[in-house]
């Protein structure tokens, strides 16, 4: 067991992990942050996305030890301290960009990255960016709508409700 220390959602944390402990497991089991979901175990579905030093990372394919000294943000660190939803979170809620919700934390983390590099993405940009995020419920329509809305774009033309 090795000690790992990192900044998690703005707070310093540390814990003992095995060399092979995945960041996702460290977050879920070590830190009790279960909003990071494990969907496919193989870095394909995107449910486990977190930010490490500002970069989007699938936490099921990164060792916890690799995050030593890093700034890690999970879905639990996205809303304001008083619980106020971020613009992206609110858009996913308001525009029905979720059903079972299992992919949602990953979608929100992925969207945050997209809007950082491309504040007004087109629909095509969004499709491209979300290629590593799988949703089985929504058919993606309302996810795209939510992201367009979160980036301040007009969504009135994107189907009903």
């Amino acid at each position: 067991m090795t000690k790992v220390s990192l900044s998690l959602n703005g707070k310093p944390v540390s814990g003992k992990v095995e060399g092979r402990t995945l960041l996702a497991d460290f977050l879920r089991e070590g830190q009790g942050l279960t909003g990071t979901h494990i969907g496919c175990d193989t870095s394909q579905c995107g449910a486990c996305l977190v930010h490490v030093n500002g970069d989007l990372v699938k936490s099921c394919t990164m060792f916890a030890l690799e995050a030593e000294g890093c700034e890690v943000t999970t879905i639990e660190g996205v809303a304001a301290g008083d619980g106020t939803l971020s613009g992206i979170q609110d858009a996913f809620r308001e525009h029905h960009g979720l059903q079972c919700g299992f992919c949602t934390p990953g979608m929100v983390m992925s969207t945050a990255e997209l809007l950082k590099i491309n504040p007004k993405p087109s629909e095509a940009d969004i499709r491209d960016h979300l290629e590593g995020n799988i949703c089985r419920c929504t058919g993606y329509h309302n996810i795209i709508k939510a992201i367009m809305a979160a980036s301040g774009q007009d969504v009135s033309g994107i189907a009903a409700e």
Partner: protein, 762 residues
């Protein structure tokens, strides 16, 4: 007014912040153990030697259980007790659980599960439909045949006739949250089970049998699933039972979660089908007689295959009035995962069969397939019912048909005719890329075909502060059931949904529930909750009328109007409490009118039908078979929708999942019976870029003719079959490549399309 309002999903705020808890997220005591199954590596044979000593000796392993260690019933079947939790001397598919590892961690259990030495006397597995037919390997004694009229005679006397056969692939559910269960031993031998299950009562029943205790000693709770789609109707039994037995034996909480590869290897999928057809028709394409032979590959155990195969037969007509029809169904037993429930429950396969026939007839006559479809539609119900009565091949009168009007509206709004012309012109000028367009309808029967399942219960409490707690037998898997039913409850008391607390499905609160399946969730549980709310409201009303000496009471806008007196709902609640009025009630509902005899194939299995239609335009690359969905327009009938936003979400998601089934999602078993596509790396569900570029979805402005909950209609499964339009459009594009009929199988992967293009060109 909360019914009919497009409110967000009840847990939306929890989901976007990561606070929504799934079973694997529940805090567990530090002494919790973790389980994994040791799996069969062959598809068929006898176990001649099983040595688990290395498993037992592995790091972190607490116990290893084989079938001999099971204290009571070794069975996790939802039907005929043919599905042992742990193999009993023989194995029937690659991935069948043989032993159970109980360990200190998930990883330790999984690692140890690979360490057993298992010797087999291997037998030749039956993997394909042809192999099963050759070996006469089947469930039930022989094929099931239902008929109406003399189809053979009608076909013989028809002016035209086509025959064909279509292969329709299976489908993996790919719920994002894999199967998972957690069992926590309680005092006196009781067991609390958290199971990601659409059917908590079934889990309770199976766990009770496995522990040798009455059902009252087992409580099953589930707040939500991360997707179900039918895959959590029976497939969670093994995990829950395994956890309960291990928890009983160790006295410690036990949890089991399948990794994705294990999940895809162990659990059942949608049944793949072959459908043969022989149809007679006139010069306009009007069918006079049709014979279908459906071959369903059911896998190794019966599971739910009988009702699934029945429902395929029940949807062999889809939207078409077939004067004479014979439908024959073979339920074949193979050495593969036990095929199970999946959104549509056989209906999609049956529907693909008749839609293929409509396309084939149109191709044969050189007509627009839409015209052939319309020619064969049932007649719309108007003020005066059609005479003589129109009946399905199972002799049920179709009393609520409205697809003629819906298709008229959709064809106009999607500009179908002009686009079809433009596509023909475009195709004439393009050698490499070819486009296709198709409009396909859906008529889907609503009710469980096993009539007694059409019942539901609810439990509603009003607390003295006016807050309301609601519970029912339905489970939430993302479909928005809990919010829709909460809207019903809020409506009953004339209050905001914020006053209504939605609680986890719990067998201790509402007993003897049916699976949340067959699209029945809102219909059944909405009515049961309404009944409970009505009971409480009437008690409050009666009391208030006497208390205030008034003649009428109205609950509206968070207030209660008693004659001229107006008080807040909260005041009414405390007043009722202080005057010793019971503020808790159960509710019960059973679907009326239905009766069904599956032996004779006659009756009214469905309370009503839900309708929809979709127009899809695709383009294919004839050099590679690659393809895209360019545009989809949908008009769907959700009756008077309880929540149009959630219902539209079901329609969009259902269409994409249905289109995925028929295009990119290909399950491949090799000759030894091993599933070769057991992860998202090799099994391709639709991604964001697979959604149509243009996607217009609208609700049909109608209401249920039957007295359902606020005249709404079920919406879980029906839109799945709108995805058939994508397959039909791809077939249309292939047809543009040559004179022959494409005979496009499903899924229409790039490879399949390329094969079909080559075939029509030669």
């Amino acid at each position: 007014m909360t019914v009919g309002t497009p409110l967000p999903h009840d847990a939306a705020a929890l989901h976007v912040t990561g606070q929504a808890r799934y079973v694997d997220d529940l805090p567990v005591p530090a002494n919790c153990l973790h389980l994994a199954f040791g799996l069969s590596t062959i598809a068929r044979g006898k176990i001649t030697g099983l040595d688990v000593s290395a498993v037992s000796a592995a790091d972190g392993v607490v116990a290893v259980l084989t079938e001999k260690d099971l204290p009571f019933e070794n069975d996790v079947s939802p039907s005929v007790h043919d599905e042992p939790l742990l193999a009993t001397g023989t194995v029937h598919y690659v991935g069948q659980p043989i032993f159970l590892v109980v360990a200190q961690s998930h990883l330790a259990a999984r690692k140890a599960a690979r360490l057993a030495t298992i010797e087999y006397a291997e037998e030749t597995p039956i993997v394909t439909i042809d192999q099963a037919l050759a070996a006469n390997s089947r469930f039930e004694d022989g094929p099931i045949v239902w008929s109406k009229g003399d189809a053979a005679d009608a076909i013989k006397n028809a002016a035209n006739r086509v025959q064909g056969s279509m292969e329709i692939g299976a489908q993996e559910h790919f719920y994002l949250e894999g199967q998972v269960a957690l069992a926590r031993p309680q005092e006196g031998g009781d067991m609390l089970v958290h199971s990601s299950s659409q059917h908590p009562t079934e889990i309770q029943h199976k766990v009770a049998h496995a522990l040798g205790c009455p059902m009252h000693a087992v409580r099953v709770e589930i707040r939500r699933m991360g997707g179900g789609f039918g895959g959590k109707e029976s497939q969670g039994n093994a995990l829950a039972v395994g956890c309960a037995i291990a928890a009983r034996q160790t006295g410690r909480p036990c949890k089991m979660r399948y990794d994705r590869d294990d999940d895809m290897t162990i659990t059942g999928k949608r049944h793949d089908f072959r459908i043969d057809y022989d149809v007679g028709f006139d010069k306009n394409g009007r069918v006079s007689g049709i014979e279908f032979t459906q071959y369903a590959r059911c896998g190794w155990a019966l599971d739910l295959s009988i009702p699934v195969a029945d429902r395929a037969m029940l949807h062999a007509d889809n939207a078409y009035d077939l004067p004479a029809a014979t439908i024959t169904s073979h339920r074949l037993k193979t050495n593969t995962q036990s095929a199970t429930a999946y959104r549509g429950f056989g209906g999609p396969q049956g529907m693909v069969g008749i839609e293929r026939v409509m396309d084939h007839i149109a191709h044969n006559l050189g007509l627009d397939p839409l015209e052939v479809r319309r020619t064969n539609f049932y007649r719309d119900m108007t003020e005066t019912p059609p005479t003589p009565a129109q009946t399905t091949p199972y002799h049920m009168e179709v009393e609520d048909f409205e697809l003629n009007a819906m298709v008229r509206e959709l064809a106009a709004s999607s500009d179908y005719q002009n686009r079809r012309k433009r596509i023909a012109e475009w195709n004439a000028g393009n050698e490499v890329l070819k486009k296709g367009i198709a409009l396909t309808p859906v008529k889907f029967g609503i009710s469980f075909t096993l009539t007694h399942l059409n019942q539901a219960g609810a439990l509603v409490h009003v607390y003295q502060d006016g807050s309301i707690q609601m519970n029912h037998g339905g489970t939430e898997m993302g479909q928005g059931l809990f919010q829709k039913v909460a809207q019903v409850a809020a409506h009953s008391f004339g209050v905001d949904t914020k006053l209504v607390k939605i609680t986890a499905t719990d067998t201790a609160k509402v007993p003897n529930t049916s699976a949340t399946a067959a699209s029945s969730g809102s219909d059944l549980n909405g009515m049961a909750v309404k009944a409970a709310c009505d009971t409480i409201r009437e008690r409050i009303s009666d009391f208030l009328m006497e208390y205030y000496q008034a003649d009428d009471v109205r609950f509206e806008g968070g207030q209660v109007h008693i004659g001229d007196k107006v008080i807040r709902f909260e005041e009414a609640a405390i007043l009722a409490y202080e005057n010793r009025i019971s503020l808790s009630a159960t509710g019960f509902y059973k679907t009326p009118k239905i009766e069904w005899n599956r032996v004779t194939g006659r009756g009214r299995p469905f309370y009503y039908f839900a309708y929809g239609a979709a127009v899809t335009e695709c383009v294919i690359d004839t050099l590679t078979g690659e393809n895209r969905i360019l545009r989809t327009d949908i008009l769907h009938d959700a009756g008077a929708s309880l929540n149009p936003a959630l219902d539209i979400g079901q329609i969009e998601g259902g269409f994409v999942q249905g289109a995925g089934w028929l295009t990119t999602e290909e399950l491949v078993w090799d000759a030894s019976g091993r599933l070769r596509t057991h992860a998202p790396s090799t099994y391709k569900i639709p991604a964001c870029s697979d959604r149509p570029d243009i996607f217009n979805v609208a609700l049909w402005d109608g209401k249920n003719r039957e007295d359902t909950i606020y005249r709404s209609k079920a919406v879980g499964e029906p839109p799945f079959m709108l995805g058939i339009s994508a397959h039909a459009a791809l077939s249309d594009a292939v047809a543009a490549c040559g004179a022959a009929y494409p005979n496009l199988n499903a899924p229409a992967t790039a490879e399949t399309i390329l094969h079909a293009v080559t075939a029509v060109r030669s």
